[in-house]
C-alpha cells in the first residue's frame, strides 16, 4: 500500500515539474524589467514689437524719428530667430530704418537681427516730410518677419509678418504772398527801389524778374533775402517786370502781384500790372 502511494507521488512530480526532461511542459526562468516612459516638449517662436513714441508730428521740410523695439517671445533651448525689418510710408513722406547704439540713432542702415529667447533689439525709424507736401498726414509702417536659423541658414519655423503702424501728422503752412505797391518805392535814372510789408510767418523772400514779357516762363529768380525791399537796375528803353515770393520752412507762397518798371528818359517809372 505504502509502495503504491510513493510510486504515484513520484510520477506526479515528474509530470508537473522537474527540468530538462524534454517535451514542452516544463518550468523556465524568466525576469522582466521596464524601460520607463519618457516625453519631450517642443517650444515656440514669436516676438512683439512696439514704437515709442507711437506717433509723430513732423513739419514740412523737416524730419522726425521714433524707436521700434522688438522683443523675442520664443521658447526653445537651441532656438535662434532672425528678425528682418522693413519700412514704408505714404503720401510722399520718406522713411528709413537705421541702427540704434548707445541710446542714439546711427547712420547705419538696419539689417536683420538674430535673437535668442527673451532677447530684444531697437531700431530707429527716421521720417522726412518734403517741403511742399500737400497731405496733412501720413502713415509709416514697419514690417517685421521672423525666421528660425540654424548654422546661419534659415530652416524650420517662421513667424509673421507683424507690422507696427506709426501715424504722422504733417505740420507747418507756407506764408501768404507779399503785396507790392509802387507807392512804397522810388525811381532813379538807373533803377527803381521798392519795398513791401513783412509777411507773417515768412523767414525770407525770393525776388523774380523778367526783362521780356510778363509770363511765368520769362521770370527768373534774381535774389533770395530776408529784407523786404529790393532795387531793380533798369537800362535805357527797357521794360522789366518784378514779383516776390515769401518763404518759410513749409515752402514758398504764391507770387505777389507784379510791378512793371520802365526806363525811357529821366527816372525809371513804376506801374502795377493788373492781373
Amino acid at each position: 500500500m505504502k509502495r503504491a502511494v510513493v510510486a504515484a507521488t513520484v510520477l506526479g512530480a515528474l509530470l508537473v515539474g522537474g527540468a530538462g526532461t524534454g517535451g514542452s511542459t516544463y518550468a523556465r526562468w524568466v525576469d522582466q524589467v521596464k524601460q520607463g516612459s519618457s516625453s519631450v516638449l517642443s517650444g515656440s517662436m514669436g516676438f512683439t514689437a512696439a514704437a515709442a513714441p507711437a506717433s509723430l508730428s513732423v513739419g514740412r521740410g523737416t524730419s522726425g524719428s521714433t524707436v521700434v523695439t522688438v522683443t523675442d517671445t520664443s521658447q526653445g533651448k537651441n532656438l535662434v530667430q532672425r528678425v528682418t525689418p522693413t519700412v514704408a510710408a505714404t503720401n510722399g513722406v520718406s522713411a528709413s530704418l537705421v541702427t540704434r547704439s548707445g541710446g542714439s540713432c546711427t547712420s547705419t542702415a538696419q539689417g536683420p537681427v538674430a535673437l535668442t529667447p527673451s532677447q530684444a533689439f531697437s531700431t530707429c525709424v527716421s521720417v522726412s516730410v518734403p517741403q511742399g507736401t500737400v497731405a496733412g498726414s501720413a502713415t509709416v509702417t514697419v514690417t517685421l518677419n521672423g525666421a528660425q536659423v540654424r548654422g546661419g541658414s534659415a530652416t524650420g519655423w517662421t513667424f509673421g509678418p507683424r507690422t507696427v503702424s506709426i501715424p504722422v501728422t504733417i505740420t507747418g503752412s507756407v506764408p501768404a504772398a507779399p503785396v507790392l505797391t509802387c507807392a512804397s518805392g522810388s525811381g532813379s535814372s538807373t533803377g527803381y527801389t521798392f519795398s513791401w510789408p513783412a509777411v507773417t510767418d515768412a523767414t525770407g523772400y525770393t525776388v523774380h524778374r523778367s526783362d521780356t514779357t510778363n509770363t511765368d516762363a520769362a521770370f527768373g529768380q534774381v535774389a533770395s533775402q530776408a529784407a523786404t525791399s529790393w532795387t531793380a537796375l533798369v537800362g535805357g528803353s527797357q521794360t522789366s517786370y518784378v514779383r516776390v515770393k515769401a518763404v518759410n520752412a513749409a515752402g514758398s507762397s504764391a507770387y505777389s502781384n507784379t510791378l512793371r518798371l520802365i526806363k525811357t528818359t529821366g527816372n525809371v517809372t513804376c506801374s502795377e500790372v493788373t492781373p
Partner: protein
C-alpha cells in the same frame, strides 16, 4: 531417549528455528555510507540602471532637462538607459525580448526610435532589439537609447508647444529558445 529420537527432535527444533514463526525469521543485511554533497543553481536576472538625457547639439553630456528644455526643428535629443543582465548555469541558454511602448502626441515632424545594444559577445542581437544567448554569459550590459528628433523641415508654426511621449517599453530575459 535413543539417539535417533534425539536427533529427530534436534532436527525438528533446528528447522523450526530456521523457519521461524510468522514475522520472526533471519534476513541477510549489509550497509555502507553515502557522503554528504550539494549542488548549486545559476541565475537569470535583469535590472534597470541609470538614465541620462543628452542634447545632440552640444558636446556636453547629460545636458538636457526633459521637464523644462524644449525642442525646436533640427534638434536631436537622446535618452540612454542601461540594463544589467546576469546569466549563469551550465546548460543555460535563452533570449532577451524587447517590446517597445507606443508613441503618443499629435505631431507632424517628431520621431522617436529605440536602439538596444549589448556589450557581451555571447548575448547577440537577433532581430529588431531582441537578443539571444546559447550559453551562460555571466554578466552583460544592454544599453537602450531612445532618439527623439524634430525634423528641420517643419515650417511655419507646426509642432509648436507639443508633447511627445513614449510609453513604457519592456525587456524580458527568458530561459530557453
Amino acid at each position: 531417549m535413543n539417539t535417533m529420537i534425539k536427533g529427530s527432535i534436534a532436527g525438528a527444533t533446528g528447522v523450526a528455528l530456521l523457519m521461524g514463526g510468522f514475522g520472526t525469521y533471519a534476513l541477510w543485511r549489509d550497509s555502507s555510507t553515502l557522503p554528504s554533497h550539494s549542488v548549486t543553481s545559476g541565475v537569470l536576472d535583469i535590472e534597470a540602471g541609470t538614465t541620462v538625457w543628452d542634447d545632440a547639439s552640444t558636446q556636453t553630456a547629460g545636458d538636457w532637462t526633459p521637464a523644462s528644455d524644449k525642442m525646436v526643428p533640427g534638434d536631436t535629443v537622446t535618452r540612454t538607459q542601461t540594463f544589467a543582465i546576469k546569466g549563469t548555469g551550465k546548460n543555460l541558454k535563452g533570449v532577451v525580448d524587447f517590446t517597445q511602448g507606443g508613441l503618443t502626441g499629435n505631431t507632424t515632424g517628431f520621431t522617436a526610435d529605440v536602439k538596444v545594444t549589448s556589450d557581451n559577445a555571447t548575448v547577440v542581437a537577433t532581430s529588431g532589439n531582441d537578443f539571444s544567448f546559447s550559453s551562460p554569459f555571466n554578466t552583460a550590459t544592454l544599453t537602450a537609447v531612445v532618439t527623439y528628433k524634430l525634423d528641420s523641415s517643419v515650417s511655419n508654426q507646426v509642432d509648436q508647444n507639443a508633447t511627445v511621449a513614449l510609453a513604457d517599453s519592456t525587456l524580458e530575459i527568458r530561459q530557453g529558445s
